[in-house]
Every structure is written in structure tokens, then in C-alpha cells.
């Protein structure tokens, strides 16, 4: 690769050149103004007692800096707490479309952001790849089919989530920051499971039917998208990771599932807290969420019912015999449903077990 002047050393060294520049005559130092120094913004307290978690966003955003208004008033990239430029000097109106707090907010976003950074991992080096032993060909193929499914669905969730970032106005920075960690997590899931599928004599399997993929792309509202990915899809994947006692064949497999589960718990926590906030903001939102719930369940059912390779792979991977595998798949589906229902409860949607979309219920009960 050519020299791009960007090959960073272990830590980029900043420089202090003493060379005296020749200042072009057009460039003269403007007279001192310092109007910016009189901006009437809040003076925050000096932070202290950082503790093991350091200088967190919650500690930094003291006083009014931590208060997000119900409607963000600035149509550009003014940071919350800064003094806005006069209207005539604000430049272009930004293309953001989400200015209402209820559409993105979750009280736990700032904490989940810091947690996401603390719990980061690198698949290249944090997985014991050398612990993987050769497996029977059909067992490896079954695992690879499952890994293919995870990698693909996470790429889909990741792509669509990134697309939403540019819709969210600048004032809700906790949310944008948290979602950036989720983007980063999902990217890691894409490559980690791909690496696993290519590391033990197998390869990728068959792609998914894609009903949920289409549904995430087609979401008209950010909260709708979050329901599909952070509640429905994440609940199912987290419960799958919870079956690692049956699925994992090596230390590497266990680590993969454990790290992924740790990430997904944050995604679920954001999703549940956001939907709860959204529901509390306006009674009419409950009907909207119900529509998304029904739509999501129907599309998830379509995927489950049509994904024969995944079904058969799970049966082979979960049991020593096909009958054992089928029983274990039924247990897995039940665990996935329970995880989903508990997450809905955390989002203040109660007793939904009695109202499941019939096709979804059938896919769970007769996998």
C-alpha cells in the first residue's frame, strides 16, 4: 500500500515543529474579539471521584448539559449546552428528521454507551481460535449454517441502523453515541461468526429467506426499526446464545456466544427502555407499537417457517440424535419466546403471550 501519511504508530505521535512559516500576505491576524468567551452557557462543576468507571458521560453531563428537551430546537449540529450561533450564521438546515425526544430516547442510553465501550472485544484476538477441534462433517456444517444466519442477520441490522443515525438530530447525543456502540457491536458479530464458519473445515451455509431483512429496511419509523432489531430479533438471538451449552463444541464457540450475548443484553436494554419511553409519551403510540409487534411476528414467522436449512441445522447441532435435536429445538423456541415476552414486559407491554400472531405461535410451538 502506498504511503498515505496515515500509518499510525502504537499511539499517534503529535508533533511540535519549530519551523517558522512564511505567512502569505493575504493572511493577517484579525483583531482580537473573543465574543465567544462571553457565551452565556452554564459553568459546570469540576468533576471529582471518578472511580473505576472513569469520567463517564453521565458525570460529564451535569446540570443543564444532561437535560434533553422534549423537542430539540436547533436544525443544525449545535451541541446540547452550547450557545447557538445566530440564525443567519447557522449554515444549512440539517437533513435530520427526528427532533422529538420520544422517538429515540431511552434513559439508559448514556450508561449503555459507556458500558459498550468497557465491554468491547476483538474477535481476532479475544477468541481462542486454536481451541477449535475438527468435528464430524455434518455437525460442523450444521454449526456453520447457524453461524451464517447470525452473520447475515447482523449485517442487515447493522446496515439499516447506520442509515437511521443520520436521521437523529444532534441534541440527543446520548442516543447517537449509544447507537454507535451498537453499530460497532453488530459489525463484530458479522465478522466473528463468519470467521468461525471458515475456520474448521466448513464454510458458509445457505442464506436466509429475508422477510425480516426486508422488514427492517421497510421500517418507516425509528422506533419501529428498534422493535424489530432490538426487541424481536435480539431476543431470539440472545436466547440462541443461551443455548451454547448444547451448541458450542469448543472454548472458542463458548466465548463467541458469551461475548455476543453480552452485547445483545445492551441492545435489548436500549430497545426495551426506548419503547417504554415511547409508549409513555403518548397513548396513541400503543396502537402503533401493536401494529409493529404484529407485523414483526408475522415476518419472523415467515422466516422461521421457510428456513429449512436453519431448522435442520439446529436439530443436528442441538441433539445427539434427530429426536433429541427436535426436542431441543422446541425448547429453544420456547426459550426464545420467553425472552421476547420478558423483553416486551420490560418495555411495558404486558401479557402479550395471549395475543401472539397465530403463524408466529405455530412456528414456535411446531418448529
Amino acid at each position: 500500500m502506498p504511503d498515505t501519511t496515515t500509518q499510525a504508530s502504537e499511539e499517534e505521535q503529535t508533533e511540535s515543529p519549530a519551523q517558522q512559516p512564511v505567512i502569505p500576505p493575504e493572511f493577517q491576524r484579525p483583531p482580537l474579539d473573543m465574543g465567544w468567551a462571553t457565551a452565556p452557557t452554564e459553568r459546570p462543576p469540576l468533576p471529582k471521584d471518578f472511580g473505576p468507571e472513569g469520567f463517564t458521560l453521565r458525570k460529564a453531563d451535569a446540570g443543564s448539559y444532561g437535560w434533553a428537551p422534549d423537542v430539540w430546537p436547533y436544525r443544525n449540529d449545535t451541541p446540547r449546552g452550547a450557545w447557538p450561533a445566530p440564525e443567519a450564521q447557522r449554515g444549512l438546515v440539517a437533513p435530520y428528521t427526528i427532533y422529538e425526544k420520544a422517538e429515540v430516547w431511552a434513559e439508559n442510553a448514556a450508561d449503555l454507551y459507556e458500558q459498550g465501550i468497557r465491554e468491547r472485544w476483538a474477535p481476532a484476538t479475544d477468541i481462542s481460535w486454536s481451541s477449535i477441534e475438527p468435528l464430524a462433517e455434518h455437525t460442523e456444517a450444521a454449526l456453520d449454517q447457524i453461524f451464517t444466519n447470525i452473520s447475515e442477520q447482523q449485517y442487515n441490522s447493522n446496515q439499516v441502523l447506520m442509515g437511521w443515525l443520520g436521521e437523529i438530530s444532534y441534541g440527543f447525543h446520548e442516543v447517537k453515541l449509544y447507537l454507535s456502540t451498537q453499530v460497532f457491536d453488530q459489525g463484530r458479530h458479522v465478522e466473528a461468526f463468519r470467521k468461525r464458519a471458515l475456520s474448521n473445515g466448513g464454510g458458509l451455509g445457505v442464506q436466509m429467506p429475508g422477510f425480516m431483512h426486508r422488514t427492517t429496511y421497510a421500517a418507516f419509523k425509528f422506533s419501529e426499526f428498534i422493535f424489530y432489531t432490538n426487541i424481536l430479533r435480539a431476543s431470539f438471538l440472545l436466547a440462541l446464545c443461551g443455548a451454547s451449552d448444547k451448541l458450542a463444541r469448543s472454548q472458542a464457540d463458548r466465548e463467541l456466544f458469551e461475548h455476543t450475548a453480552s452485547d445483545l443484553r445492551r441492545h435489548l436494554a436500549y430497545g426495551a427502555d426506548h419503547i417504554k419511553h415511547y409508549l409513555r409519551a403518548d397513548p396513541v403510540n400503543r396502537d402503533r407499537v401493536n401494529t409493529w409487534v404484529m407485523r414483526g411476528e408475522a415476518m419472523m414467522a415467515a422466516d422461521l417457517q421457510r428456513d429449512k436449512p436453519l431448522r435442520e441445522a439446529l436439530i443436528l447441532a442441538l441433539g445427539d440424535t434427530i429426536e433429541e435435536g427436535k426436542a431441543a429445538l422446541k425448547e429453544l423456541r420456547s426459550a426464545q419466546l420467553q425472552k421476547y415476552l420478558r423483553t416486551l414486559e420490560a418495555a411495558s407491554i404486558y401479557n402479550h403471550g395471549d395475543e401472539l400472531v397465530p403463524a408466529f405461535q405455530a412456528a414456535i410451538e411446531s418448529p
Binding site: Q13, Q20, A85, L92, Y113, A122, A141, H213, E312
Partner: protein, 361 residues
């Protein structure tokens, strides 16, 4: 293909009546992959082998099928993905992705906040103003690549993964500069016109030209001169770590542009127009010269670089600021040389040309 005796055995098992094992019997994806980790662990480059390592120049994959996996005829068509590799590909994406994962840092714990000294009031005000500016513009560099991410084909997924790391980095930059402004008693100050104009990019190459070659490159040069700007170890460390991140972003953009120009040299003039715009040669829209050198930011930087606001200090600070500007423009020209746009030097505004070192032979 699974051994026929294994398949036979599976088919005879109780409960197998409703299973056909066709995915196992006749897999359409390449099998037999046994990739081992190298010195840097198991990297994307390690697994980019066989059919899995051959990103197609042109793809009709609109279903989100990951490169190398087996297609199914009834997969949903998402109709969102770019078909041509050169539209988004960067040869460095895999390497930079892995590097990004290894070099993540935490603004909460990797900055020695507890060692923050009490600074002279003017210096602290100036640092807070600079951080207000950086808080304002840094996540525009996350929002912009995010805008194009849904269009990256799963056949070229490495680009999507790299963009995810850039978004994470920019989040951390917004966060660390915000924290810095709030860490020493001043807080955020005056917001400016910001960098929303970058979001006008209408294509991936418009973005890499505007954001990576110009915007991020200029910010990288600024951060690399952080020793001159910073008056504490806290600030020096922030600039060092942020510069390291920016280096990856710039490298991605350079290699994308280089790839595109090699594959589609006829787009050369089109790319020049994006750079014309960023250099301020199209209309009067705010340009790069204003992005890191505009009014309030210029004054804050001048105070920081001079060590105060006396006339002597301001003169000294302004000289150093011009040194930074000179470096920004010359490093920009170097990037242009690398991507194959050496002829651009002659097209530049005389105000920029005045900063350039003579061409090296």
C-alpha cells in the same frame, strides 16, 4: 458434501421423515475452509480466501446474502445495494477494520482526567471553545458515512464493517471533546456554522473526497499538531488518540479514491469538482478553509498556540496557526499525489497555492 453414509444414516434416524438435508447433501457454498489465526489473531484478511475472498466487480445480489454463502431462489430483494465494487471498495478496509478493533480506547478511562491542571483562564476558555467546535463537527463525520451504509452490498461487506468503526470513533470524539469542555469548569461555549454542509454529499465518492481527503485529513493534521495546542497532558493525550483514529479514516478514503480512479479513470473530472467545492472554488458556501480555521475557532487556536492573548502571544500564536494551515494544505497535496491527482495542484486557488511547498521531483 457430507459423506453419503452419514447422510444415509441421518435419513434413517427416527424423526427424520420431514427432513431432506439438501443443504447438507449438495452445498452450494465452498466448503473445506480451515483458516488458522496468524500473529494478529484471526483477521478478516486471513479469512479472505477462496471464493470467500473474491469480491465481485459487479454483483446482482440485492438480498443481503453474505459473500460466499449459498443463494436461495425465494430470497427477498431489498433493492438497496450498489452493484459495482468500485463504488465503495477500499483495499485497506479489512486491515483498517482490524486495526480499529485493536486500538479502541475509552474517553472515560484512557484519559488522565484526574491530572487535569488548573489552566490560565484565557487558555481554558480557548480550549473549551475549540472543544465546542470539535463537539459540533465530529459526529457529522459519523452521520455522513452512516448515510451510505445501507447501500453497501453484502458482497463488499468489509466496507460496511470499516464504516461501523469510523462511526464508533466519531462517537468517541464527540464524547471526548464534550467531556474535555466540561472537565475544567468552563463548559461548552459558542456554537458556529458547523459542518452540516458535508451531509450534502450525494454519492460515496463525493463523501470520500469531501470527508476523508479533505475534512478528516485537515482535522488529522490539526490533531497531529496537538503538542503545540495542548497545555496539559490530558489534552495532549486526547489529541494523540484522536489523531490515531483519524489516520484510519483518511487511509480508507485515500485507498477508496485510488481504487476508483484505477477502475474508472473517466471519473477524474467529476472528482475534481468535489474538491473544487471543498476548496471553496464553487460559490460562497463554507469550505474547508473555514472548517478548522474559521472565526471563533481561529481565535481560540491562536490563543492556545501563543499561550495567551497578549499582542505578542497572539502574533506568535497566529504564526503557529499558519504553520498548521501550511501543513494541512501540504499533507492534502500529498494525499492527492497518492490517489493519482497530482495535477490538482495547478487547479487550486492561489490562496491555497501560497501555502504549498515546491513540488518534489
Amino acid at each position: 458434501m457430507a459423506k453419503s453414509e452419514t447422510l444415509e444414516m441421518l435419513r434413517k434416524e427416527p424423526g427424520a421423515e420431514d427432513m431432506d438435508f439438501s443443504w447438507l447433501d449438495d452445498p452450494a457454498a465452498e466448503r473445506g475452509m480451515r483458516v488458522a489465526p496468524g500473529k494478529r489473531g484471526l483477521t478478516l484478511e486471513d479469512i479472505s480466501v477462496g471464493t470467500y475472498g473474491d469480491p465481485p466487480e459487479m454483483t446482482r445480489n440485492q438480498s443481503g446474502r453474505m459473500r460466499g454463502s449459498a443463494p436461495r431462489g425465494d430470497a427477498q430483494n431489498l433493492g438497496a445495494h450498489w452493484m459495482i465494487k468500485s463504488e465503495s471498495w477500499s483495499e485497506s478496509a479489512m486491515m483498517l477494520y482490524e486495526e480499529a478493533l485493536q486500538r479502541q480506547w475509552s474517553s472515560a478511562t484512557d484519559i488522565p482526567w484526574e491530572e487535569m491542571p488548573e489552566l490560565d483562564d484565557d487558555l481554558e476558555l480557548a480550549m473549551s471553545q475549540l472543544c465546542t467546535f470539535l463537539t459540533q463537527v465530529e459526529f457529522i463525520a459519523g452521520d455522513l458515512p452512516a448515510k451510505f451504509a445501507p447501500n453497501i452490498s453484502a458482497d463488499h461487506f468489509e466496507t460496511g464493517l470499516f464504516l461501523a468503526t469510523q462511526i464508533m470513533d466519531e462517537a468517541r470524539h464527540l464524547d471526548v471533546f464534550r467531556k474535555r469542555a466540561l472537565a475544567n469548569g468552563i463548559g461548552l461555549l459558542q456554537a458556529g456554522p458547523g459542518a452540516v454542509g458535508l451531509l450534502t454529499s450525494q454519492s460515496f465518492v463525493d463523501m470520500t473526497a469531501s470527508l476523508h481527503l479533505v475534512g478528516e485529513g485537515f482535522v488529522q493534521s490539526l490533531f497531529r499538531m496537538g503538542e503545540m495546542i495542548a497545555h496539559s497532558e490530558v489534552d495532549k493525550r486526547i489529541f494523540r488518540l484522536a489523531a490515531q483514529d483519524e489516520s484510519r479514516h483518511v487511509a480508507f478514503g485515500i485507498m477508496h479514491m485510488k481504487h476508483l480512479l484505477e477502475q474508472e479513470p473517466e471519473r477524474r473530472d467529476e472528482i475534481h469538482t468535489y474538491l473544487d467545492r471543498m476548496e471553496g472554488q464553487v460559490g460562497s458556501t463554507p469550505n474547508q478553509a473555514g472548517l478548522t480555521g474559521g472565526g471563533d475557532t481561529t481565535e481560540a487556536l491562536t490563543i492556545l498556540l501563543g499561550g495567551g492573548k497578549s499582542e505578542t502571544q497572539m502574533d506568535e500564536g497566529f504564526k503557529k496557526l499558519m504553520a498548521i494551515r501550511k501543513r494541512q494544505f501540504n499533507e492534502y497535496v500529498h494525499r492527492l499525489d497518492v490517489v493519482g491527482l497530482s495535477d490538482r495542484r495547478e487547479r487550486m486557488d492561489p490562496m491555497i497555492q501560497a501555502f504549498l511547498e515546491p513540488r518534489r521531483n
